[in-house]
Each structure stands twice: as C-alpha cells, then as structure tokens.
C-alpha cells in the first residue's frame, strides 16, 4: 500500500472512536476485546463501543492503511489463538501523533481563553 506519500494532516480530524482505537494501539498489538476495554477504561466508560462499531472502525482503519493485522498468535494456554491482533502502521503512528498534536494545540488555545485550568464551578448549598 502506498502510504508514504500520504500527508497525515489530510486525514484529520479523526472521529473519537478512531482516535481512541489508534491511541489504544500505540502501546503495542492488541486484539479487539483488549482495544475495547482499553478505550472504555481510558475514557472512564464515556466511550463504550459495541462489537459492530469496533470492527466497522477496524475495517475502515485497515482499508486506510492506518493499522494492520499482526501475524502474532498468542500462546494457546494463555489466550484464544483464534484472536486477531492489530497494530499501528507507520502511517497510523504519524496520523495519531498529528491528531494528538492537534488536540494539544486546541488545549493550549482553550487555556489561553481560560477555558481550561479554572476550578470547577461549585453549586451553593441549598441549590440554585
């Protein structure tokens, strides 16, 4: 697949599901259920993907060349050897870095606008 000439910026912004799946894979190969759990835990269960969403997104990421299926198969004693493992491609790595950088810029902007770093508003006793 010709992925070297693709500018990662052209693929931004990513949808939250795509970004979180790519983020989950930055630490190494993972199978579908591990990706799903990682996403759920890292987002404090704000993003709960179902099997359809997860594999629909994985299909799109494979077609776009952002991830690839790993040849690695786990030890049959430790895990189900039928599981399919996925890992980031070079392009996938550059795209997730570019998206993280974009979020960083957004966060800086939000700080400059004093939207971030402020203490949360507290509700006075007795209600509003």
């Amino acid at each position: 697949m010709k992925t070297l000439n693709i500018n990662p910026q052209d693929m931004l912004p990513l949808t939250p599901a795509v970004f979180h799946i790519l983020l989950a894979l930055t630490e190494g190969e993972r199978h579908g259920y591990a990706i799903m759990r990682e996403v759920a835990e890292s987002t404090h269960r704000q993003i709960n993907m179902g099997p359809g969403t997860l594999y629909g997104t994985i299909k799109r990421l494979l077609e776009a060349g952002l991830i690839e299926e790993s040849d690695r198969r786990p030890d049959a004693k430790l895990d189900d050897e039928r599981r399919r493992y996925y890992c980031l491609t070079g392009l996938g790595q550059r795209v997730v870095e570019a998206e993280a950088s974009r979020y960083n810029e957004l966060a800086k902007l939000a700080r400059r606008k004093r939207l971030l770093g402020k203490p949360a508003k507290t509700i006075p006793a007795g209600g509003i």
């Binding site: 259920y33 179902g50 099997p51 359809g52 969403t53 994985i58």
Partner: protein
C-alpha cells in the same frame, strides 16, 4: 475459557447475537463475524461475572443499538461501493479493446461456438421433412333468431363483437377435430406418417392435429381461414376441407336442435294467425359457405426450415458471444493468477 463454564445466560446471549450477525453484509460477516462473536462472548462473560443476569441485560441494552446502527451502516457502505452494471460493462469493454490476449480468447471461443451452431442448424434443416401448407376459406353467417322481429324490435338485437373469435375456438374444439380424425382415419394415417406402426389414440391425434392447425380471419373480411400443415400436400388439403365440413355440420346440427322453439314460444303467448312482420329465417345451408376449398399445393412449403435455421443463427450468435465473453474472462483470471 472453555464453553462448558459459561452460564446458560451467556450461552443463550451468544446464540442470539450469532443470529443477529446474519443481518450484516455477507463479506463483512465473513471477515469479522467470528471475531465479533468472540468479542461479544467475552463481554457476556465479564458482564455475568460482575452482575449476572442484570449485567447481561445492561450489556444487551448497549449492544442492540450498536447492532442496529452498524448493520445498517455496513449495508449502506456496501451499496455505495458496489460497482454499477454500466461501469462493469465499460471496464470489460476497455479490457477487451486494450488487451490482445483477451480479444484472441474471445474470437477463438466465439468462432468455435458459432460454427457449431451453424453446423447444427444446417443438419437439422436437412434432417427435418418438408411441410406443406393448405388453406380452406369459409364464410360464416351469424345465428339469427328463428322468429326475427321487424322494425324497432330488430334494432334491439345488438351484434356479438366476439362472434368470429368464438367460431375460431369452436373450429379448434375437440368435438370438431375428433369428427375429422374419425372420418379421415387420421389416427392411423398420421401415426404411420410419423413412423409409428400402431395407430395413435384419438387424444394423441387431437393434440398432434391441434398444433398443426391455425384458424384466422382473412384480413378486412368476415371470412375464416382454416390452415393445415402436413408432410403430404394432399393430406393437408383434405384435413382443411374436412375441418370446414365438420364445422358446417356442427352449425346445422345446432340449428336443427333448436328448430321450431322460437315460433312455438310466440304462439304460446299470441293467438290468431302469424303476422306479416315475422320474417321467416334463412335456410340453414347458407350458415356456413365454403368460399375456397383447400387444394393440394406442392409450392406451399411451410418455412419451418428457414425459421429454424434463422433462429439457430441468431441464437448461435448470442450464445457464441456469451461463450466468447466467458472465454475472455477465464483468460483474464488465469493471467491474474
């Protein structure tokens, strides 16, 4: 990890989800169906270990909307990606134009199939016996009431628009044709003509005869044409004339069976002499007139052979084109491997 350890709730949930997976497009299911099922089983086990049935219920509440949404999305994506027939034809045409081996494969297969079709049609044309055609023309008068009314009463009798088509069906009916079969001994003659040593049954002969008779209206007239085709011109003519004769006899028999009923009906309601405005009916002999009896004609060859030949040529060209396309496709597949 083994299935034996799964609770019944998990097993049933996985089975239900497996059924739901059938709603995804086939290619998506083939690629990810097993992985999705495995993932759902893992989710079920976790949910069960955390909150048993309640955990499974919560999981289903999350999974059902996901299933409904993503199965629809995958179908829509499939529709979007599917190549139109026009694009496929265009691509095939371009490949045919640009790739010499494909062209060669097409022409080779096309030529072989086409030649086979031409040879078969030529053999069939030679093998089939000649068929002769003979036609009898008859003029048919409509049935009139025995006691016809004059003046205003006459106008009340509306003409039957289906009279001629009804007569066509009568002429081709079992009653008329079986008379012909019996009178001309067609069960024996046609059986012998078609290579059978024993006579056919009347029903077999009727079926055979029915496919060799056509009854039509002579254009712009009220005449009826009874056409018969047979390997013998004499037999074709005699069958056509016999059909006309049998039909004429049928009409006369019909008239005789109701003869006198009309006048009797008038007399039952009226007294005194029959008034002058009652018009006497035409004699029954003119109800069916043989306008042109059929004659044996050696020149009236039914164009069956040329029809067969042309049909085979036309069909053969189409078949050869299809086979040629198939040959080119196979050549392309083997070149891709």
């Amino acid at each position: 990890m083994s299935n034996e350890l799964d609770s019944k709730g998990v097993t049933v949930s996985v089975k239900i989800y497996e059924r739901l997976l059938a709603t995804y497009p086939a290619d998506f299911r083939r690629e990810y169906g097993a992985a999705m099922k495995q993932l759902f089983r893992d989710q079920c086990r976790d949910a069960w270990s955390q909150a048993q049935a309640r955990g499974l219920a919560v999981l289903w509440l999350q999974v059902l909307p996901d299933w409904a949404k993503t199965s629809l999305v995958q179908h829509l994506l499939n529709l979007h990606k599917r190549e139109s027939v026009y694009t496929k034809i265009l691509r095939a045409f371009r490949a045919f134009r640009d790739e010499a081996p494909l062209r060669a494969a097409f022409i080779r297969v096309f030529a072989v199939v086409f030649l086979l079709c031409v040879a078969t049609s030529a053999l069939l044309s030679i093998w089939l016996p000649k068929q002769y055609f003979s036609m009898a023309q008859i003029e048919v008068q409509k049935d009139e009431p025995e006691v016809a009314m004059a003046g205003a009463h006459q106008q009340m009798l509306s003409p039957d628009p289906y009279f001629l088509t009804t007569q066509f069906k009568i002429i081709e009916s079992y009653r008329i044709l079986t008379n012909v079969i019996v009178n001309l001994h067609l069960d024996e003659k046609l059986a012998r003509q078609n290579g059978s040593t024993t006579p056919w049954s009347v029903d077999e002969t009727f079926d055979f005869l029915l496919h060799r008779i056509s009854v039509e209206q002579t254009r712009m007239t009220s005449l009826i044409e009874i056409s018969v085709r047979n390997q013998s011109p004499e037999m074709a003519a005699s069958i056509a004339n016999a059909v006309a004769g049998s039909y004429k006899q049928f009409r006369l028999d019909q008239w005789n069976s109701i003869k006198g009923r009309g006048l009797a009906a008038w007399r039952s309601t009226h007294q005194g002499p029959v008034p002058a405005w009652i018009i006497p009916k035409d004699p029954p002999e003119v109800m069916v007139i043989m306008a042109n009896p059929a004659r044996p004609d050696l020149n009236s060859v039914v164009p069956t052979k040329s029809k067969i030949f042309l049909t085979w040529i036309f069909g053969g060209t189409l078949l050869a084109a299809l086979a040629g396309g198939g040959g080119a496709w196979r050549a392309r597949q083997s070149s891709l491997r």
